[in-house]
Symmetry: C2
């Protein structure tokens, strides 16, 4: 949005009539000034669906296991928070959720896992890739510098592998880590109908607002109510928004820092609502491809 | 199927009238004597869909990248082979596919990647977790013993991480590895309608065959034709089948050992055909849960 701000100012200064509109878009959902960002609802739906499936997969086996799922999000925990949603459709997982908004304490993490193990044989953990220690360094940073591959190189692993290693070391039980990786941002076969509808709408409103004379603004969603779910589309000066992050409010994370609260469910559930049918061929989704051509 | 064989013989020997029927089920698709196994088509559909999405994700960026996708399969390459399918719906990937049926040569792999890079900026590689070197050891084995984590433990990484490290070392370009992990076996939101229909059918035929007097047999699919797709359900003595693996025929892998041939497409495409609608609640699939109770 910073670029949007600069271009808009440049155009105004040079008397060139061009309206510059910012339309938010990020699965990270961390843009300031809007209730949520297009893209987020679909990524959250993929994460929630996957965590539900991982839970049911683990449930089949009688030997207990710790399963750590690493979710995207370097600074904000919005994506990892969506891992909580399967609990509303019968899954008794994940048991623990760690977001970057709260300092991560490896020793407390081990105590948390042990406590879950005292109650149930499987423990599913969702963790943001960006969780940091009290001193501000990424939790996996020390681990990474210690790990060396066959070529003597620093092994760049994520926080999932780090916690897997930590559990193996400190608890010694069966443990696995799963990195949802790029599929959480590109699994278009599992889009949220709400997200897709809103993305189209906020784009068309941006055109309408531009025609009304707005420039240097970002289009935003304002939440009117959760139940029924209602949002209003408006715009805010980019200068008020650029370079600011929207983190998960501390009040939406439980006191112990290992789960989300009811507010998060109320916020999130409407965003993943509805399925989007997609065209298939040979049993696979057909993707719409834009050819990139150089315009002379 | 070995257990099925033993129980059947025991029952016959002891004059206890109990028919023992084997019904195949494995996403690995490596049971001998049947054209394919229930479960495989759905896993293949998930893998094909994911590879297609990964391709379109990579396509967005102008900086070239090598993307290595690790697919399940310790002994047989059936699952990794399904990565080829997105090519039939417009994806120009994956560029390279490595199966355990052909000895893996790390130096040839690097040459293969370089050749792809000379033609296109992105290179997507699908690799079976079970690829082995000429001497029979797993390709990632040496790598694993070299890697040590922060606790001084052997780092148990997969072949994807190994090849990622190899590319970084030998080519030095941007590279990423993705492990599809357990989601390829448990993503029930993406089942093949053909697979689900056949699974029900082969189960009901097993009952029918048992009532006709068969015992100590495994139910099998026999492929009648690819186009139109037709299978016949029969049974074979478990003694002929147990402890034998069905690998990908060498003729279905290209000469260089880095891709599959047309025969694989003809075999595979019918198995992933059709979508299965599923009940949803709160925007997520609802899973049917069997409570495990101890029968006194």
């Amino acid at each position: 949005m910073d670029t949007c701000n600069k271009i808009s100012k440049f155009m105004l200064r040079n008397g060139y009539e061009c309206r510059v509109m910012g339309v938010p878009k990020t699965i990270d959902n961390d843009l300031f000034g809007t209730d949520h960002c297009p893209g987020y609802g679909s990524a959250a739906k993929y994460i929630a669906t996957s965590i539900g499936e991982i839970y049911h997969d683990a449930r089949v086996y009688d030997t207990g296991m710790i399963c750590i799922v690493e979710v995207m999000g370097r600074h904000a925990g919005w994506l990892a928070a969506s891992a909580a949603l399967p609990r509303t459709v019968g899954a008794r997982a994940p048991h623990l959720i760690y977001l970057p908004e709260v300092a991560f304490d490896p020793e407390q993490f081990i105590r948390d896992v042990k406590e879950v193990q005292s109650l149930t044989r499987n423990c599913i953990v969702a963790v943001s890739e960006g969780v940091r220690l009290e001193d501000g360094t990424f939790a996996a940073e020390n681990f990474q510098s210690g790990a060396v591959d066959a070529f003597g190189h620093r092994y760049l692993s994520g926080v999932g592998k780090y916690l897997e290693s930590l559990v193996r070391e400190k608890i010694g039980c069966k443990v696995r880590s799963i990195e949802l990786n790029v599929l959480q941002r590109c699994s278009s076969h599992l889009m949220s109908a709400t997200d897709v509808r809103e993305a189209r709408k906020i784009g068309s409103y941006a055109i309408r607002f531009a025609l009304q004379g707005h420039t240097g603004v970002m289009m935003v969603f304002e939440r009117v109510s959760n139940l029924p779910y209602m949002v209003r589309i408006g715009c805010k000066p980019v200068s008020e928004i650029a370079n600011r992050e929207q983190l998960v409010p501390r009040a939406w994370i439980n006191k112990q820092g290992n789960d989300v609260t009811d507010e998060m469910f109320e916020y999130l559930l409407p965003l993943i609502e509805g399925e989007v049918p997609y065209p298939t061929q040979n049993g696979m989704p057909v993707h719409f491809v834009l050819n990139k051509s150089i315009v002379e």
